[in-house]
């Protein structure tokens, strides 16, 4: 709400220094958003929360000032002479939808001279950012800002049959509003029509055709109460908002409807020389109920934690125009003023008391009781994973989960239905909710590449959204994503460090697998559990994202990983006897993966074999076509005595025999 302090003074003289007044307003919930000196006046913009439409006017603000300063509220007196003619005799109002328009009033002012408003009025309107138009339009705006009740002035003579019909729009009807744009109306929108056509979008904007202009001599003045939800829906649907719709959609004061009409009529008589017809057409449907509620004084300390004397609480409610219906030692019963739609319960009254008692009174030192909590296993491992990835040279990223409908955007390593689609995305091309971090990481990769950062290693522990059949909400799987510029072994090395650090490395296996996401990829398992996938991203994605170079990517199911990590580490006694190491180098078909060779060695039935370690891989010169040479180290040890060289040699021979029968391996000399 935009005000100037001099204008405010018309309704209340707080008798406070300017700075103190502003501070008190802010402390009462009307925060100062902006301020600007206007010579001898001060422009102030107040933040009004959506529950307080009663403060969307100068009188509304003055009401608060009056309550917080104890100074009286001065409402302008409304007086004007009326002609002998009754308004009912020259105009009619039919409200066909009393649900959407519970109250409609009309007055007629005859013989107005349309021209510029007086300087004082123009100055005030312009000070709060309104454009002066002509005296009639300015008066409706002035009264709107003064009391919060939107008004509309029609050119009476342009209304067919001098009739006002408040009804829903008919399908296909259109109206050109005073912003000179044409709007197509729908049958759930309320319009003000004359005998023939809509002349205003109710509560939102008037029509161009019946707008008051220089040639206007007679005015029909509308002041009404429209149903808030309907106004909001119409305003949103038409993408048309105004000072009027802003107030109607938050709710105006039922009791203020007629006062605003009389106030505007009196100003029209005074300023434009018009003559106000006698009486008013006031069509009323169902009145909002009078709200009565009560407050137990004992609840004040229960909610607030400080003692507010009962007398003080009652004084505050009275000052805010709550009518005291009864009061005893325990409680006070009040009638809520008609402009306060936000108050209906005890807690609402407690808030009123707290607000005007002052939140600064709650500065009471009070210790908080201590409780003990331990981080969960998942929590601790989450931190460990972050630390280890950082120690491996990865930078943590935070990415937005909206992705495009492209192969990367649809990428998914998990069991899931089609991705969820956002109905109203900010960026139309990124309307899918990700099922993998990959598309987000490719965006990061591209951004960095385009800003001269060539090689990146990034990770994130975040969520992917996996729709599941028969479930309302998607599964939100927490995954660890890692993207790195480098080859497969580079990224696999990081995973190995990570798994080793969590003491699950020995049970993790990698099995190469085909997928649309990777040109070369592997499924990662730990025991029975699938942990995720790792691979080099496919050509298609490199092209789609304009990447120079092919990054490696891995995605790990965080919960599955946590499950595999032991709850408690158990110490294993150190070996008491020395180990014997033996190396073996074999020539074998190039197609046999190392993993198979290791499995074969481990499965050779050698009880003393403790470890098999890859040493070297060679293919090419000096080797037959289609063959490779693999060297590995075996470590043997007995737990019950020193292993002899002969035992080790025997074991190696057994293993070699096994490799020969299984893979036709040959010893490399």
């Amino acid at each position: 709400m935009k005000i100037t302090l001099n204008w405010l003074k018309d309704y209340v003289d707080a008798g406070l220094p300017q700075e103190e007044l502003l501070e008190r307003l802010s402390a009462a919930g009307l925060n100062i958003e902006d301020r600007r000196s206007l010579g001898d006046d001060l422009y102030v913009e107040l933040e009004v929360t959506s529950n307080r439409p009663d403060c969307l006017s100068l009188i509304g603000v003055a009401r608060e000032v009056s309550a917080l300063s104890g100074k009286p509220l001065v409402i302008p007196t409304v007086e004007y002479k009326t002609s002998g003619v009754k308004v009912e005799d020259v105009a009619s109002v039919d409200v066909l939808d009393a649900g959407l328009c519970p109250r409609y009033t009309a007055r007629v002012i005859k013989g107005v001279k349309v021209g510029p408003s007086p300087a004082w009025m123009r100055k005030r309107l312009e000070a709060i950012g309104l454009r002066a138009v002509n005296n009639i339009a300015d008066i409706t705006n002035y009264v709107l800002m003064e009391c919060g009740q939107p008004l509309h002035a029609f050119d009476y003579d342009r209304l067919n049959e001098r009739r006002i019909v408040v009804r829903r729009a008919k399908a296909g009807e259109t109206i050109t509003a005073i912003d000179r744009k044409e709007y197509e109306l729908k049958d759930d929108m309320l319009v003000i029509a004359d005998a023939a056509r809509p002349v205003a979008v109710a509560g939102v904007m008037g029509g161009l055709d019946t707008e008051v202009g220089d040639s206007t001599t007679n005015v029909l003045l509308e002041s009404a109460y429209f149903e808030p939800v309907s106004i909001r829906r119409t305003s949103r649907a038409l993408k048309l908002a105004s000072d009027s719709s802003f107030r109607f959609e938050r709710g105006v004061d039922w009791k203020g409807v007629d006062w605003a009409s009389r106030r505007a009529a009196s100003l029209m008589a005074e300023i434009s020389g018009g003559e106000v017809l006698e009486s008013v057409i006031d069509v009323q449907g169902e009145k909002p109920p009078v709200v009565k509620t009560s407050m137990r004084f004992s609840r004040l300390p229960v909610i607030l934690g400080i003692d507010v004397p009962a007398d003080e609480a009652v004084r505050i409610l009275k000052a805010l125009q709550f009518r005291i219906l009864s009061r005893d030692a325990e409680r006070v019963e009040v009638e809520v003023p008609s402009h306060r739609h936000d108050v209906e319960r005890e807690i609402d009254l407690i808030e009123e008391v707290a607000r005007h008692f002052g939140y600064d009174k709650f500065d009471v030192e009070k210790p908080i009781s201590i409780a003990v909590t331990l981080p969960s296993k998942e929590d601790s491992i989450e931190e460990e994973v972050r630390e280890m990835l950082v120690a491996n040279g990865c930078n943590e990223v935070v990415t937005v989960p909206f992705v495009g409908d492209d192969p990367a955007g649809r990428a998914c390593f998990w069991d899931a239905e089609e991705p969820l689609v956002v109905r109203n995305p900010v960026n139309k091309r990124e309307g899918l909710l990700r099922r993998s971090l990959l598309p987000c990481f490719l965006r990061v990769k591209r951004h960095n590449q385009n800003h001269g950062v060539a090689d990146i290693s990034i990770f994130e522990l975040s969520r992917v959204f996996l729709p599941k059949r028969g479930r309302k909400l998607p599964e939100e799987k927490r995954v660890v994503g890692i993207l790195r510029d480098g080859d497969f072994a580079d990224l696999k090395g990081i995973l190995e460090s990570l798994f080793a650090g969590l003491h699950v490395g020995e049970r993790v296996t990698y099995r190469s697998s085909e997928s649309a996401v990777f040109s070369q990829g592997a499924v990662i398992t730990c025991g029975e559990a699938v942990l995720g996938q790792v691979g080099m991203v496919s050509d298609r994605m490199v092209v789609d994202y304009d990447l120079r170079g092919r990054p490696a990517y891995a995605e790990i199911d965080f919960k599955a990983l946590v499950k595999e990590v032991a709850d408690v580490v158990r110490y294993v006694p150190l070996p008491r006897f020395p180990a014997v190491e033996r190396d073996l180098s074999v020539i074998i078909d190039a197609g046999v993966p190392w993993g198979k060779i290791r499995e074969c060695v481990e499965g050779a039935g050698i009880e003393t074999l403790r470890e098999v370690r890859f040493v070297d891989l060679y293919s090419g010169e000096h080797l037959p076509e289609g063959k490779k040479s693999i060297a590995f180290r075996m470590i043997f040890r007995r737990e019950d005595g020193t292993l002899t060289g002969e035992e080790a040699t025997g074991a190696v021979e057994t293993i070699l025999e096994r490799l020969k029968t299984e893979f036709k391996a040959e010893l490399r000399s």
């Binding site: 909610i303 319960r345 939140y359 990835l389």
Partner: protein, 335 residues
């Protein structure tokens, strides 16, 4: 003989000290200690001494033998430590640096929040980001047709599936499952349609606090917020609360802290007001309690939701919120 042994030891010391390779040392070992070495030679002469002289001389010879052996051993060790090709030592040459990574500023700040609330005994919980209308709106006292449900303020998937616009939905999930006393803190990503610029984004982070127990009051709320803010920004920071409106709390408050850049005297960051807006808070609205079956006559609750991005920006002096999700590695490496 004594003199002779001393001389041998001195010579050996010099030669071993000068040796610069393991092979040289091996040769010296053979020369002095070998089967045909200098010391063997001397020892052979022991028999020629008188029986009185013999034990002392023998001991001395043995000691010299041990000394030489350990000199060789030490020199060998030192040779293996100092690379022989570094003739001129240059400490300013770069080392073999290991790659290093960094945590995102949001994580740094979230960790601090976590640390503070762990000390106060709060449990850390999370809730879904894709929510239904009940948890994101109805149970939070935001009935159908409430303006806060509009498509301009929320990302919708279907009419009853929303990407959460605040972490308060976690409050409902916790209270549906857990009986008071409740003491939780819930960090999370939230989403609200907005035009992206230096200070606005449609994706940001919040931390939600909820405490439900007998006897909790607005005074406790203010104390906890003050503890938290001071834990984060230091003991000198002032906290101010002013009335505000949120459907799920009443009374509600907006929290301001004295500007951490100018200390309250006014600067560009605080727009010369001396205060910075931190986020919303309040006492849990009785309607929310009723939605989850907690008796508001018996229990009271307090809650707040603060923006983590804002904390990070203030803490590190980041002047553009877009940097937080752009993930430029040159930016990330600074934290």
């Amino acid at each position: 003989m004594k003199d002779q042994l001393a001389k041998i030891l001195a010579e050996a010391k010099a030669e071993i000290g000068a040796a610069s390779a393991a092979e040289d040392l091996e040769a010296l070992r053979v020369k002095y200690l070998g089967r045909k070495g200098v010391l063997r030679n001397i020892m052979a002469k022991l028999s020629k001494l008188s029986p009185e002289e013999r034990p002392a001389a023998g001991q001395l010879a043995n000691r010299v033998k041990q000394d030489i052996a350990s000199l060789v051993g030490e020199r060998l060790k030192s040779l293996s430590i100092a690379p022989e090709d570094r003739e001129v030592f240059d400490a300013t040459l770069p080392g073999r640096m290991r790659p290093y990574g960094t945590l995102h500023p949001i994580t740094h700040v979230t960790r601090e929040v976590k640390r503070i609330f762990h000390q106060l005994g709060f449990e850390w919980v999370e809730g879904p980001e894709v929510e239904d209308g009940w948890h994101n709106f109805d149970a939070l006292n935001i009935p159908p047709n409430h303006p806060a449900r509009s498509e301009t303020d929320n990302f919708y998937i279907t009419d009853d599936l929303i990407i959460r616009s605040q972490t308060s939905s976690v409050q409902i999930r916790v209270m549906e499952k857990q009986k008071p006393p409740i003491r939780i803190i819930a960090p999370g990503r939230v989403y609200r349609p907005d035009t992206v610029d230096a200070t606005h984004h449609y994706f940001f982070h919040q931390v939600e606090l909820l405490m439900v127990d007998r006897g909790l009051t607005f005074v406790d709320l203010k104390n906890i917020i003050t503890l938290f803010i001071r834990g984060l920004f230091g003991p000198e920071v002032k906290v101010r609360m002013r009335p505000s409106y949120f459907p799920f709390t009443e009374p509600s408050a907006e929290t301001d802290i004295s500007c951490v850049f100018c200390g309250g005297s006014g600067c560009r960051v605080c727009k010369d007001t001396g205060w910075l807006e931190m986020g919303g808070s309040g006492m849990v609205d009785p309607n929310v309690f009723e939605a989850v079956g907690i008796d508001p006559e018996v229990y009271t609750g307090l809650a707040f939701g603060f923006g983590i991005d804002r904390f990070a920006m203030l803490k590190y002096g980041i002047d553009d919120i877009r940097l937080l999700t752009e993930n430029d590695v040159r930016f990330l490496k600074q934290f």
